[in-house]
């Protein structure tokens, strides 16, 4: 049939796009490894030390972050405290700034000349193992918190009510209801957080000191020494945990079907628990807000701590050094990435969710692969693959790399939305003599509006703050704002770096705020009859 021929052509084109933007660059990187003495590198002292460092620091950080996230998500979902929305917002604030600024926050607060260090006359150093742990927890906690909150929110309370009726003790309820329920999501969260931390170089670069991890080693080899071969080998090693997590996730995804109609929890009065919830949430909020307050202080005084007069010096210096132009780059990159990203992921998800077939299944899997590729690896493979091409050195390659890097999550959002819409809509259109395009425009798109806005926000926020993939690809003429943090830090201009972090936070907060406003308006109007139509 004609239409199925057209659909196949579109799917073919999309597969070619992914081949060129994901698979070929990765293969190019692997090919690069043939020039390296891989075995020699893998058993060399520095490599093994960095590997061990990475594993230990990631394991410790993961455990702490997930423990904290479990506690906090449980306290927010199962207590009667007020300001839950505000706390949830504060907890996820760290997701809006680059990981490197979490390291910087620690330096500003606890470094040799740090704010807190100064006030309390602390000794000891933030640099090294515990610095990385603190920064990594900060940066990965929101992700774990969001994942676990979601799970707890949709837990069914009826087994607990049944257990209460039968007189089963709280301790046994936990062992026989809560623990089995949480096992799988907990494992997913642990894997996700572990992967997130082990591939990050922002935090260890800032506060690692002599404690070198694999991503830092890779970053320095590639950026500092231009040793692409060695970088590729480390890249491959970093790809492994993400790949394992990805495979487990794909295997589990279909099995994981939460019972949809869950009876929500009726939380009983418990002064002690609510008190604990206030204290813990307050402390975590403070931990989140403290670095931001420090950035603000650092930015707005002339020279901390010697000259505490208010001044615009740091801001104007940052702008003199190109913050304005780089903000422009970032906004263009984020905007174009978001628009093309939303369009592309909608197109792909439409194909995979609403037109069945073998190609759709392949396309679905390929779309998820980007979930498994660390930005730092993607960046390096792009350098190797696109060098000498037309887009190399232009804004276009930064947009492309962000598009691919952040593709999987928005894709999954819209995939789920489209799969939930009635499967016969297009067939209805066909029997009524209305084309597929019209049905998409008039019926499907209007119902996907909220999801599309959420996807846009995701692409935008991440494009604004990412440093991992773009670090290898940006030039002076295309440099995004986030990379100024690294360079200001290298020039010991912490005040300017703090200002840049605030600037990114402000832009991202604005975009998030607009999205929240849009969604709340949409939700309200969804249940009101449409007067205009009559």
């Amino acid at each position: 049939m004609k239409t199925s021929g057209k659909l196949t052509a579109v799917k073919g084109l999309l597969l070619i796009f992914f081949a060129v933007s994901v698979l070929l660059p990765l293969l190019r990187m692997l090919a690069r490894m043939t020039t390296v003495d891989i075995r020699g590198l893998l058993v060399s002292g520095p490599f093994l030390a960095a590997l061990k460092n990475s594993l230990v620091v990631t394991a410790v950080s993961t455990l702490i972050a997930v423990f904290l996230a479990t506690l906090l998500s449980w306290l927010l979902e199962r207590s009667r405290i007020r300001f839950k929305g505000l706390f949830a917002l504060l907890f996820t604030l760290p997701m809006l700034i680059p990981s490197i600024s979490h390291g910087m926050g620690l330096v500003v607060l606890f470094g040799a000349n740090g704010l807190v260090t100064g006030w309390f006359g602390l000794k000891g150093s933030i640099y090294g193992f515990w610095g990385i742990v603190a920064g990594s927890v900060m940066y990965s906690f929101p992700v774990a918190f969001l994942m676990l909150s979601d799970i707890l929110r949709y837990e069914d309370s009826s087994p607990y009510e049944a257990a209460d009726v039968m007189g089963i003790s709280r301790r046994h309820q936990f062992a026989s209801i809560t623990a089995p329920f949480l096992r799988r999501p907990m494992l997913s969260t642990l894997f996700a957080v572990f992967t997130l931390i082990i591939i990050d170089y922002g935090v260890p670069l800032m506060v690692g000191g002599q404690y070198k991890t694999l991503p830092v080693m890779m970053y320095q080899d590639v950026i500092g020494l231009l040793d692409f071969g060695k970088g590729s080998v480390i890249g491959l090693v970093l790809l492994t945990p993400a790949l394992v997590a990805f495979i487990l996730d794909v295997l589990n995804r279909d099995k994981l079907t939460l019972s949809f109609v869950a009876r929500p929890f009726r939380v009983r009065k418990n002064r002690l628990r609510d008190g604990l919830a206030y204290v813990t949430s307050g402390l975590v909020s403070l931990a989140v807000l403290l670095p931001i307050a420090a950035f603000l202080l650092l930015t707005l005084v002339k020279k901390y701590p010697s000259d505490m007069r208010l001044s615009m010096d740091n801001i104007s210096r940052a702008f003199n050094m190109g913050a304005g132009a780089n903000l422009g780059h970032s906004l263009v990159i984020a905007l174009v990435t978001s628009l093309t990203g939303v369009a592309l992921s909608f197109l792909v998800a439409y194909m995979t969710a609403r037109t069945p077939g073998k190609l759709s299944k392949i396309l679905h899997l390929v779309s998820l692969i980007s979930l498994a590729i660390p930005g730092i690896v993607l960046g390096l493979s792009y350098v190797l693959f696109f060098k000498g091409s037309l887009i190399y050195g232009s804004l276009a390659i930064l947009i492309l790399v962000n598009l691919v890097h952040f593709f999987a999550s928005p894709y999954l959002m819209i995939y789920n939305t489209l799969a939930k819409l009635n499967e016969h809509l297009e067939a209805v259109g066909q029997t009524l003599g209305v084309s597929r395009i019209s049905i998409i425009r008039d019926v499907i798109l209007p119902q996907a509006g909220g999801t599309l806005a959420e996807m846009f926000t995701y692409f935008f926020v991440n494009s604004m703050m990412t440093i991992s993939a773009v670090a290898f690809l940006a030039t002076a003429g295309t440099r995004p704002l986030s990379l100024m943090i690294t360079s200001f830090e290298a020039q010991m201009l912490l005040e300017c770096a703090a200002f840049i972090a605030l600037l990114i936070l402000t832009v991202n907060l604005l975009v998030k705020g607009l999205f929240t406003y849009y969604r709340s308006r949409k939700e309200r109007s969804a249940y009101e009859p449409d007067q205009a139509a009559v």
Binding site: M1, L421, N422, E423, H424, L425, A427, V428, Q430, T431, L432, G433, V434, S438, D442, V443, P446, Q447, A526, Y527, P529, D530, Q531, A533, V534
Partner: protein
Amino acid sequence: MGKNKLTVEKLSKQFGTNEVLQNISFTVEEGEFLSILGPSGCGKTTLLRILLGLETAESGRIIKDGIDIAGLPPAQRGMGMVFQNYALFENMTVLGNVEYALKKRGGSKKARSTALELIERVGLSGHLSKKPRQLSGGQQQRVALARTLAVNPDIILLDEPMSALDVETRLALRSEILDLQKEFGSTIIYITHDQEEAFAMSDRIMVMHEGVIQQIDSPHKLMDQPANDYIRAFVIHNIQVKIDSLIRYSREAK
């Protein structure tokens, strides 16, 4: 009645090695109510999709009013379909759902008046500006019917239209559908797995099992002269059980 409206000749369809339809042949007369009765997976939905043109058959002919329509796109076959779970446009109002196709085909003023008439006819004039999720299941089904009738098809196909409704609504809708059929003079092909429904509504019933027509006859004849053991077991036995329980119920009620 009496004139051949639709003739299906030797229709076959395979999915991989699975023969979903094997040599299906039957005719439907103008103004007839034909039920296709069979358990899920017997090929009845596939048959409907092929008749509509949403799916193509490997072999066989579909002749409507003397013309082979197998090569025509769905909208040019003069058939309307009420889908399982209605497949309403959730973002549009009742009025929007019914007039959408008419507007798309041109003539927005005519579209509005036709749509309003149909909505009135199915008894939803008081719900014009409601969205589907604000309606009951039975009301949603009526919107789906009105939307299908809007493009004026002469054959209407219904795919298990009552499966999600409660008993009371089902009974009410049964007679409404029959009334609409009379009023519009439509020919109806009605898919169901509910024996009682098929017996209560149809002029003829076509019983399908594993891609093969087991028997196609009037309800009476099906009862009196079942063609094989399958009909006896699947159709008559089930009806018998229902009748028995009814009799017992009415005795106890006395």
